[in-house]
Amino acid sequence: MKPAPFSWHGPASVAEAVSLLAEVGHEGKVLAGGQSLVPVLAMRLASPAHLVDINKIADLAYVRTDADGVTVGALARHRDVERDVAAGAAQPLLAQALVNVAHPTIRNRGTTVGSLAHADPSGEMTCVLALTGGSVTAVSVRGERTIPAAEFFLGPLESALAPDELAISAYFPRAAPFSGSAFVELSRRHGDYALCGVGTVVTLDPDGAVVSVRCGYLSVSDTPLVLDLTQAWAAGPEEAAEVARAAVDPADDIHATAGYRRHLAGVLTGRSIERALARART
């Protein structure tokens, strides 16, 4: 189980990286944390001729929080984001979701932006980006652009990034006042990919009445699915579960049937909303 040969490039700056990608991007891959990419290479399920390794671009290793929200640089490890106090205060969903990403050792190396670029619909961070309405900023020799979450995920393992583009950061908006969030998932073993997961953001008005209930789903659709369940929740938990079950489009695999995942989407919707509501009210 050894990777096929490749040429390695270790740019020291974003400019150098994008110029390399312009040259080799169509037959290459960006390597950041590598926690999803390296197993694929080791099993020779992919054999890119070039790897553009951004681990030496120290400028990209940051987590910045400002009045608008949290910006995560392409070299920020999951563990850095999870433990960033300011980021956690601004957007609690980040850490709530991140603790479900594999195990701490993987999170020490894996990057949040990398997992977004990987665009795995069973990835927790894809769900968070979609649910919070965040965005990804990408750079190429052609310039820089910011891609909203709704336009970023095109399909399973397919993002809007062009082969010559480097995702340099992701942006997660600050949580609204009087809001609460939660992330609930069921996996076979602790740390495995979720059979189904549900992230929730609930917003209240100053009197504590529910203004908005939004849920994001993982492992039950080709791209991150976000549902506005405000009305359904007002009609009761069973209605919200029913809407969720109707909206998801899971597939069978060796770990779970589509029917079971659909069932879980309903059950976990209620649990996730309850938990988010409890947090919103404290």
């Binding site: 040429s7 390597l31 563990r79």
Partner: protein, 194 residues
């Protein structure tokens, strides 16, 4: 060993790029020239002859290959050696070695605790647990049982059923505070024994 450079003849396949990889391992400067696709685990084991780091799956799940990279546990099978040029690595060999008298007390608290608690059987997964727990206790010196479980939750062991590894995490915390802390039951302790 300091500053030693190895140029192994890897037999370069076309398309392989080849790189000098200087690193600091267990406090010593080491380097070798290797193809880009050489994983850090293979680099440590076969270029630097540090065979204490074990490879159980080569796809990042089992944790046997865990080493500390700038102090943090990472899977060395999921990192290419070339990516860590100039960084600091700690392997199981660097946690502690027996002194000339063979006194077990010369080992690190985590190594001692593993022996005290019978936290290893075949020993293949053990290096990954030892490195992970060493870093975990540096961060959280007094873990609860739940925190001890969480600390080792990403490492597979097929022999022990984990009972004694959890006990060893707690025992290592105890030994870190007091190297003379008495060991329950003369030589080992077990959770839940009658």
């Amino acid at each position: 060993m300091s500053g030693e450079e190895t140029v192994a003849d890897h037999g370069v396949e076309s398309g392989d790029s080849v790189h000098l990889v200087p690193v600091t391992v267990n406090g010593l400067a080491r380097s070798a020239t290797v193809p880009a696709r050489r994983t850090l685990s293979d680099y440590l084991r076969h270029d630097l002859q540090l065979t204490g780091t074990h490879v159980g799956c080569e796809h990042g799940v089992c944790g046997a290959c865990t080493v500390l990279l700038d102090g943090r546990p990472v899977r060395s099978c999921l990192i290419f050696a070339v990516s860590v040029q100039g960084q600091e690595i700690t392997t199981v060999e660097g946690l502690g070695q027996l002194d000339a008298d063979g006194d077990p007390r010369s080992l690190s608290p985590v190594q001692r605790a593993f022996r005290d608690c019978h936290a290893l059987q075949c020993g293949f997964c053990t290096p990954g647990f030892l490195t992970t727990i060493t870093a975990g206790l540096a961060e959280n010196p007094e873990p609860s049982r739940e925190e001890a479980v969480e600390m080792i939750a990403g490492n597979l062991c097929r022999c022990t059923g984990y009972q004694n590894i959890v006990a060893a995490v707690l025992r290592a915390a105890e030994l870190t505070k007091d190297p003379d802390a008495p060991n329950a039951d003369d030589g080992h302790r077990h959770e839940g024994d009658r």
